[in-house]
Amino acid sequence: MIIETREFTRVEGNGKAEIVIEDGGVKDVRLKIVEGPRFFELLTLGRHYYDVPDLEARICAICYLSHSVASVLGIERAFGVEVPEEVMLLRELGLIGELLESHALHLYLLVAPDLFGYPDAIRMAIKHGELVKEGLAIKALGNRIRDLVGGREIHGINVKPGGFERWPGVEDLEVIERESNGLLTLAKRSVRLFNQITPYGAQARHFIATNGYLWGEKLTSDDEEEFHYTERIEEHSLVYSFAKRSRYKGEPFLVGSLSRLLLKSEMLTPTAKRFFEEHKNKLETGYVSYNNLAQAIELVYALERANKIAKTLLDMGIEGENVPVEPREGEGIGYVEAPRGVLVHHYRINGEGKIEYSNIITPTAFNHAMMEVSLFEEAQKLYGEAGEGEMLQRLEETVRAFDPCISCSVHFVRG
Amino acid sequence: MSENPYQTHDARILEVKDLTPREKLFTMRFLDPKVGENFEFKPGQFVIVDLRGFGEFPISLCSSPTRKGYFQLCIRKVGRMTKFIHKIKEGEVVGIRGPYGNGFPMKNMEGSNLILVAGGLGMAPLRSVLWYAIDTGRYEHIWLLYGTKAYEDILFRDEIVHLLKHGESMNCTVKLAYEVESPSCIYLEQGFSDRVCRGVVTDLFRGESFDVENTYALICGPPVMYKFVIRELLDRKLSPGRIYMTLERRMRCGVGKCGHCVVGTSVSMKYICKDGPVFTYWDALSTRGLI
């Protein structure tokens, strides 16, 4: 017998799960991404590098900047371009804006209704209006940063190889400095709120992240030194899904907030670090549901870090000089931490600056196997114990814990 | 009220009447009696109707200024705003500003014959002229030549039939041309065989002769109609200065600012809203693009 969930709601994109029941027990669980294929890799083939980040941004709206930054980093590495600190700081600021926007959306509007037992945040707002407003406030700052750095709340095209077309002004940075500080209390409150989450899903055994907090030159894992994705991660296609599945050392692994905290806690800002220490034992169990708690802690990190970056940039003064980009033959990989985990853009570019090969692996694709394992374990736990409705609800919550971005996952490429 | 020409005055819709499936007649009165008293207009002028929060659009006044205490607008349902106003019910309030435009030179024409040539919705502004002329009795004889698609499309049908029957006593000859045959039309045609026929409006000129020295023609209809009617009139030697027509263009302001209704070339430029909407055929000859 196969039990099928409805399509997941309160996640980005379209997916569902099938639970295979045999001999009175759960035999297998399949996570089906039903979002149609999107062919982004093909779209960029033969294109001039300059236009590529704008197009790649369109892979996903929630994390468009992660895509454009990863794309830009990949291109710059292929050309051997080095950009000055202010450019990297601004890009990081953009990624932080994205993290704020995405985590606030996910925690307050998509997960919180589960905690309080509502179908959505709009209906939840009737009783818990303050909470929804707090979430929207954090989200709004995130979007403001995305607008500033990226050029638009969604799919801006301001992030370019070599720098930016539009540079933020002093006033813009002052606003960010002020607001990031002002919102910190809300973020702290969210840690307390999402600390209520109970453990469910599987316990991850492997964690992978980039070697820098929000972007990196390489990947790192719980038991390895730094490596390139091509060296340790295999992927293969599935007949029942438009997304592919990846494994590390033959095993599922986790990317995202929880992995970042566990692998890179020494990079955290002071308050975020304190929170991490406080909840460390819990987080270290590796239950995927604690990803939500990790996200809340990351909100604190993001606000503190945004504040710091704005201060630094104000102190340094923005030069606003772009680095000239000369196309040359080369290959480069851009690693970025999208809000939901590691994102890879890999390009080979020819001497004229045209894309010859491109491969994109998104966090949800990395997490695919882990999601299936989690669903499997959760289904095993609940099948026969709880009613079918309750089980399906819990399975949906399990998927939601990953903050999956299904749109992204449907087009990682082999060029 | 303030001096702001874009401000509109509240007017209550007293009555809404279906004239045809597409046209409704709105009878309105200003809420503020002072505004009502100051609202003096000439046949051929128009107002701007303001549905606050949605937009504005120009509509000719179709009642005669001789009828006091209210004014009437005949509105065809064609697009966004007009569809919306067709949903509005009696008793509701809309904004009105105006009257705008030059209107027909009714004073100058006193003592003369008037030929009103209406096509379709063109009947609306000419109805104002018609009743003004009848009410004041200052004109020699009035012809109304009205071309319509079908029986159902005849605007102010009751009035038209009434005038077909009793018009002569008011110095008024009404003639009607219809394009689509129907029992009702045939019935009408049988009743008034000399004045109702199947055909287009120009067919109604057949058999008519005018005293060209003492006659004015007033035309309003769809853009394609003008050329044919004017030829008919010129054939009868009517001077281009005695042929009046009322025109329409897109308008945003109605007071000669927004530029949409500007027509002409380097030698002559006209604002339809301010210099018109009534023009002579001579204006059309000297300003390209007017018709």
């Binding site: - | 606050r52 929060g53 504005e56 329409e248 897109r250 530029g259 949409h260 070339t265 030698v267």
Partner: protein, 334 residues
């Protein structure tokens, strides 16, 4: 006309004193263009600018502005009483404003335009033409009115013409920064004007222009240019005498609306469209021609609707040149 001299060393003091009259807006370089922007100090101003992208009409007839705001079911007017000083306006643009005055101050007056005109001082400044200017051939390179003060560059300062009572008051209240004009100054002024007169590279002969164009209504030249024109409307937007606007009501929240107007362009397909789908200027050719006719319309009381500022040429992506089109059309008559 009254004349005084503003020596270079007093320029800053004079500039500062203008702040008493309102917020100062002046031409500032911004990337590859100039724009009129609020400025705090004289050093921000580019006194030798060629032309701003949007002409000073933007202060009186705003690119976008709220005409009315809904309160309950009534419209109320927004209030805007800003006092401003428009510093550094070129002669052609002053002529442009005079043409706009003809429209917006004609009865019934546009109250928004009128109020801002009253609340704004105009300080003109002399200029040197670049490759786009053809104001001299239209007689708009010099203006006798339409300003409060007009500054003409001299080697050691400025010859200032005083054009209004308010201008006079400024000169009066700042007596200490001005000097009497000397013969040397006049000689320098004359020299500047002569040099300027010789620098024009473009000319639009006015003689018989209006009637020739009318006669050339069916010239193939119109068609040739209409084919490369993008109908993007940029030329309208930057024109100091274009004044078409569109109006739109918008919802600000669930129950409040505003009525907003914004610049419109006669290149838009709907400009001549009326209900029922009839379009009085259905093709790009019609609209292209319409703009040229509108700009070349000769009003006996105010002259042409074009002041020769060169903006439409500078900002046309298709590089269509106003003078060239008109000359070719006229030429095609022979």
């Amino acid at each position: 006309m009254r004349y005084v001299k503003l020596p270079s060393e007093n320029f800053e003091g004079f500039f500062e004193s203008l702040k008493l009259w309102g917020n100062i807006y002046a031409p500032v370089k911004n990337g590859g263009i100039y724009t009129f922007q609020p400025v705090e100090s004289a050093s921000e101003v580019d006194l030798h600018y060629t032309r701003t992208m949007l002409p000073p009409k933007k202060f009186f007839f705003r690119p976008r502005e709220t005409l009315l705001m809904m309160e309950g079911k009534k419209w109320i007017e927004p209030s805007d009483g800003e006092k401003a000083v428009l510093f550094g306006v070129h002669s052609c643009d002053i002529h442009g404003l005079k043409i706009l005055d003809k429209v917006y101050l004609d009865e019934p007056m546009d109250p928004y335009y009128k109020k801002r005109r009253e609340n704004t001082l105009i300080i003109g400044i002399s200029c040197m033409p670049d490759e786009y200017c053809f104001c001299k051939s239209l007689g708009t390179h010099f203006t006798m009115d339409g300003f409060d003060l007009f500054l003409h560059e001299l080697p050691d300062g400025w010859l200032v013409r005083i054009g209004s009572v308010r201008g006079h008051e400024i000169a009066w209240e700042n007596g200490e920064v001005f000097e009497e004009v000397t013969d040397d100054d006049l000689a320098n002024f004359k020299e500047f004007e002569e040099k300027r007169a010789e620098s024009f590279q473009k000319e639009l002969p006015q003689e018989g222009l209006a009637d020739m164009l009318d006669l050339a209504y069916n010239s193939p030249v119109w068609k040739k240019y209409a084919e490369i024109c993008l109908a993007c409307g940029n030329c309208n937007m930057v024109c100091p005498t274009c004044r078409c606007y569109d109006v739109c009501d918008r919802w600000m929240d669930a129950y409040k609306a505003i009525r907003e107007r914004r610049y419109d362009s006669c290149f838009m397909e709907n400009h001549g469209l009326v209900a029922g789908g009839h379009n009085f200027r259905p093709t790009r050719l019609d609209r292209f021609r319409h703009r040229y006719y509108c700009k070349s319309y000769f009003d006996p009381s105010s002259g042409y609707n074009c002041v020769g500022c060169g903006r439409c040429d500078e900002f046309c992506p298709a590089k269509i040149e106003h003078v060239k089109v008109l000359e070719e059309v006229r030429g095609s008559l022979k």
